[in-house]
């Protein structure tokens, strides 16, 4: 049995909404697991069930070999970082960190020792006497993490903790969370709707949609090998291009071009997915793109254009190439990196 074990965990709200469908998941000790999905997909509910803040309708949660279903949140030995940090506004930073330890009846010297260690680790030693209202967003974030670390819990839970920060700070804190987790080595679950955060932080990633884990794997596995249309569209930035097509006798005919010798026996209506970064310019390429707009990011250019009836088809090329608006580009798919999904089920078929 692994460290954290979810067995057929289900959440049905009193009004009948099924937020989380039968979900089974194992997380190893020291692993950094990320739940990613659009808002309302049930990822936070799943996390809150692990924390004990939501009742489990059906199924079992085992943490470190103990059944957690009926255990009170305060007894579970989990720590959570909330989206708005939920710092205690009337206590200074020191007491914010010390409160959980005090409740566990730890003596004063040990508390001071632990708080100071955690503060040092997070570089908040200078603010220990301040109230949360006198701290900046990044500092509050650190205090919230300090409050989790200081208790040395079995598992860290992060509920979209970076979404209140500005873009630059978010990237910086993302890096720090990852480093910190590696240093402390505590099993962590991180919930986010930001796929970049998910990709960068995760040891393993669970892509969740409508209360179901659509795919579970390492970030690269999921990026390279999305199993469904939803996962393909959700992971990767800019988003994968989707085209309608028809598959017959191993030949895929899409809007304006054909791909022969497709590696599947499937036939019928399909959706073809091509990542913008898997396209290359070549003479007599498969795809003819009429350029509408070029976004120059410096390192890359994002080229948006029209492909027959499909608008905003995206192609990503190195930033040193100059591409004129209204020009016509001829593109090929690099190394046959394309994805075919059944149109009705959304399942990958190639």
């Amino acid at each position: 049995m692994s460290f954290l074990d979810l067995k057929n965990v289900t959440k049905i709200y009193p009004n009948g909404t099924k937020a989380v469908h039968e979900t089974s998941l194992s997380i190893d000790e020291g692993e950094f697991m990320v739940f990613v999905g659009p808002s309302g997909c049930g990822k936070s509910t799943l996390l809150r069930m692990v924390a004990g803040l939501e009742d489990i309708t059906e199924g079992d949660i085992n943490l470190d070999g103990k059944l957690m279903n009926e255990v009170d949140p305060s007894e579970r030995d989990v720590a959570m970082v909330f989206q708005n940090y939920a710092l205690y506004p009337h206590m200074n930073v020191y007491n914010n960190l010390a409160y959980g330890l005090k409740n566990r009846g730890i003596d004063k010297e040990t508390i001071e020792q632990k708080v100071n260690d955690a503060a040092k680790l997070l570089q908040i030693s200078d603010y220990l006497q301040r109230k949360p209202s006198m701290l900046s967003g990044g500092q509050r974030q650190r205090v919230a993490m300090g409050r989790a670390i200081v208790r040395n819990p079995k598992i860290f839970l992060f509920d979209e903790p970076l979404s209140n920060l500005d873009a630059k700070l978010r990237i910086q804190m993302r890096l720090e969370i990852k480093k910190l987790q590696q240093k402390v080595g505590v099993t962590s679950i991180f919930v986010t709707h930001d796929q970049v955060e998910a990709m960068t932080l995760a040891d393993r990633l669970a892509v969740i949609n409508n209360g179901i884990i659509e795919q579970l794997g390492t970030p690269i596995e999921i990026y390279d090998n999305p199993k469904s249309l939803f996962v393909a569209g959700f992971i990767g930035s800019p988003q994968m291009n989707f085209l309608d097509g028809n598959l017959k006798n191993k030949t895929l005919s899409a809007e304006g071009f054909e791909i022969k010798d497709v590696n599947t026996e499937h036939e019928g209506e399909v959706t073809l997915g091509i990542r913008p970064e898997h396209l290359v310019q070549s003479e007599n390429g498969l795809i003819n793109l009429k350029v509408d707009l070029v976004e120059q990011l410096g390192s890359d250019n994002l080229v948006y254009g029209q492909l027959k009836n499909i608008k905003d088809f995206c192609y990503r090329c190195p930033g040193n190439q100059t591409i004129e608006k209204d020009s016509n580009l001829s593109l090929n798919i690099e190394n046959n990196k394309y994805y075919i999904f059944d149109k009705s089920t959304g399942k990958r078929v190639n």
């Binding site: 949140p73 305060s74 939920a86 205690y88 506004p89 959980g100 566990r104 209202s133």
Partner: protein, 283 residues
């Protein structure tokens, strides 16, 4: 700095307002320092006279009432105990009942809240006979408990606390739970310190409410040792119609001035908390 005409007008209005509030109090105070005869013959006074110490000493220590047992000092103490008890218990009870209403989401929470709220429509004066019956059956007439207990439930304060607790984000409770706080420690460690300015405000209102109670102590107390200030005020006025002595106007003024001191002290003392709460935005 140039003063604009609008500012002058604003200041005139403000000064008039201040005078309106202060002048009657000053006249009462100044009059309380004269001889009763002077006031009766010359009217109310603007300047301080020479009888200040004598009048106040007289008021505080002279025994009055029908059986000549109670002093004004005793009445002040009684009123203070009553108001303090009412204010303290009202704040404690309403804070705790609001806590139960907001955080324990049992099915009857909303109906119970409205039931509490409806009691606003039934002030003590309306239910004075049943209240008296209950208190007297319990044998609490002529006691501080009897003076305080029927007045300690407060719908207004419960309502204000409830509204305040509702603004506290749920994450705070959840976070506290994960930190090992139980229901009681969440109340003591979080809600009480977070609402301390609110508690101060409620305490002031409720203290003044308790201090100015008239009808209830009047009905409740037959023993003079439980008389309150407001009752005493009525008595010193009726006194003048009995006998042939001159009305003791100067002493009355002294009594009025003294009766204002306890509530003023409470406001002055708790105002510090008020301002502190306004400066430190802790949310």
């Amino acid at each position: 700095m140039k003063i604009k005409p609008l500012q002058i007008i604003a200041h005139i209005i403000l000064i008039l307002g201040v005078l309106l509030m202060v002048v009657p109090i000053w006249i009462s105070f100044a009059s309380s320092s004269h001889d009763s005869v002077t006031i009766l013959t010359e009217g109310m006074k603007f300047h301080i006279g020479d009888q200040l110490a004598r009048n106040y000493n007289e008021v505080l220590n002279e025994k009055g009432g029908w059986s000549e047992e109670v002093t004004a000092a005793k009445m002040f103490i009684n009123s203070f105990i009553m108001a303090l008890g009412i204010a303290t218990l009202k704040v404690v009870i309403s804070a705790m009942s609001a806590y139960a209403l907001v955080y324990y989401r049992f099915k009857l929470a909303v109906p119970i809240f409205w039931l509490i709220f409806i009691t606003l429509l039934v002030p003590l004066e309306v239910r004075i006979f049943p209240s008296y019956k209950i208190v007297s059956d319990l044998g609490l007439t002529n006691s501080y408990t009897g003076l305080i207990l029927p007045l300690v439930a407060s719908a207004t304060a419960t309502f204000f606390f409830r509204q305040f607790y509702k603004t506290i984000p749920d994450e705070l409770l959840e976070s506290a739970k994960l930190d090992g706080a139980n229901a009681w420690s969440f109340f003591i460690d979080f809600l009480v310190p977070l609402s301390k300015t609110m508690i101060a405000a409620m305490f002031i209102f409720m203290f003044v409410y308790g201090y100015s109670q008239y009808l209830w102590p009047l009905i409740m107390t037959t023993a003079e040792e439980y008389w309150t200030v407001v009752m005493g005020m009525k008595i010193i006025y009726t006194e003048s119609y009995e006998g042939v002595a001159l009305p003791r106007t100067a002493e009355r003024f002294a009594y009025i001035i003294l009766s204002m001191i306890p509530p003023v002290l409470v406001v002055v003392f708790l105002q510090k908390w008020f301002i502190k709460g306004l400066i430190q935005t802790e949310k």
